[in-house]
Amino acid sequence: MQPVDRDQELVGIRAKLKELLVSNLNIEGITPDQIKDDDPLFGEGLGLDSLDAVEIVVILQRHFGVEVKDMEKGREIFRSVNTLANYVYDTKQGQK
């Protein structure tokens, strides 16, 4: 049953992340629904920059209680909404 739970929970995390990205970051003319799960967050994708990266760090801390401590993994974690959601889920599972 756990894979189904995981998938359901990831859907919820991704939706919440998209809402928070749109409401907190400098993304104009985009609704949460228009962000694809695998869109790159930086550069060619959503076009976010490192000012936005600070906000994502704060979103992870304040809304999900998760910190990114290992910058070796940072490049993968911050790649897309999907990778962020996976990191949030895995970290929270590890905290239980």
Binding site: F42, V54, V58
Partner: protein
């Protein structure tokens, strides 16, 4: 450049191991004044033969001394070079334990309140005066200070400045790393540490246009964004050399930037950065030969995609 790429900040290196060794020996043999004496010869060489160095200094000199003629401005460049040379010798003097400087602190009570709060602090400095005296002074508070700076890739400078010997109280966060070091900076602030950034040069990463010394210049904005997002105070701390053995460390301003809803964040950032540029300008009016920027920040930079800078 995207944040996925590892960025490299271009910086021209001057000085070599032999040169630094020569100054170290002179310092131990003849003291501060003796080592300073050599500078007048070395700096003459740079003024006469190093056109790029002169050109780099002229960006500031031309705006700080608009009423000076051609030869007076060249003399200003020379004074700046000598002043920076003394700065480097003083750093070694401090680090090597050869001697100490008398340091007067202006605004200490305000800083003490902030430093003793235990919360994270964004320390904003500039290419002005001698940051080693600031670090020395901050050492008394026993708070870890993380310098957001490119790793020094000139071994001679690195060795001379004792960066490797700074111990656990000083950490280095590289702005050349992934996302410009923002995650490490936020984590450090969360642990109640100090994160120190240079605010007067953007390197093209999220620059903000401000009024500065009679022109439109491009400053860094990352420090205020970090402070606003982490809920930390932004402390502007600058130092100036007053005499052979005397420095002043000045708590120029302490602000608590917080984003207000309904106003674009970049607009609010621009206001905070402009206020910083204003206090820096006032400082340089009082200490004209303490500016070691050596870069034309009045020329629009090629915008890149990182916010932090050193």
């Amino acid at each position: 450049m995207t944040p996925d790429a590892t960025r490299k900040i271009e910086a021209r290196q001057r000085g070599n191991a032999l040169g630094f060794w020569f100054f170290r020996v002179s310092l131990r043999a003849f003291g501060l004044r003796g080592a300073y004496g050599l500078l007048y010869i070395v700096c003459s060489y740079y003024v006469i033969f190093d056109r790029r160095a002169v050109q780099a200094a002229r960006a500031y000199v031309d705006r700080r001394f608009p009423d000076h003629g051609r030869w007076a401005r060249l003399a200003d460049v020379y004074r700046l070079f000598v002043s920076q040379g003394k700065n480097l010798i003083d750093r070694y003097y401090l680090i090597s334990g050869v001697g100490r400087f008398g340091t007067r602190v202006e605004g200490e009570a305000r800083l003490r309140d902030v430093m003793q709060s235990g919360h994270g602090i964004v320390l904003l400095t500039a290419h002005v005066g001698n940051w080693q005296t600031i670090m020395n002074y901050l050492g008394a508070f026993e708070r870890k200070v993380n310098l957001v700076m490119r790793p020094e890739d000139n071994p001679a400078v690195r060795e001379s400045l004792g960066i490797d010997r700074s111990g656990q109280t000083i950490g280095i966060i590289s702005p050349e790393g992934y996302l410009g070091g923002v995650v490490e900076s936020m984590n450090a602030l969360g642990r109640g540490e100090v994160v120190s950034l240079m605010g007067d040069r953007s390197y093209g990463f999220n620059p903000v246009e401000v009024n500065f010394l009679g022109g439109r210049a491009w400053f860094a904005s990352g420090a205020f964004h970090l402070a606003a997002m982490a809920g930390c105070p932004a402390v502007v701390l600058l130092s100036a050399k007053n005499g052979t053995h005397d420095y002043t460390v000045e708590v120029v301003s302490i602000t608590r930037p917080r984003y207000q809803p309904g106003i674009p964040k970049r607009e609010q950032l621009a206001g905070w950065v402009q206020a910083f540029a204003q206090v820096l300008e006032e400082y340089l009016i009082r200490h004209p030969y303490q500016c070691f920027l050596f870069y034309d920040i009045w020329q629009k930079p090629e915008v890149k995609n990182h916010p932090l800078e050193t």
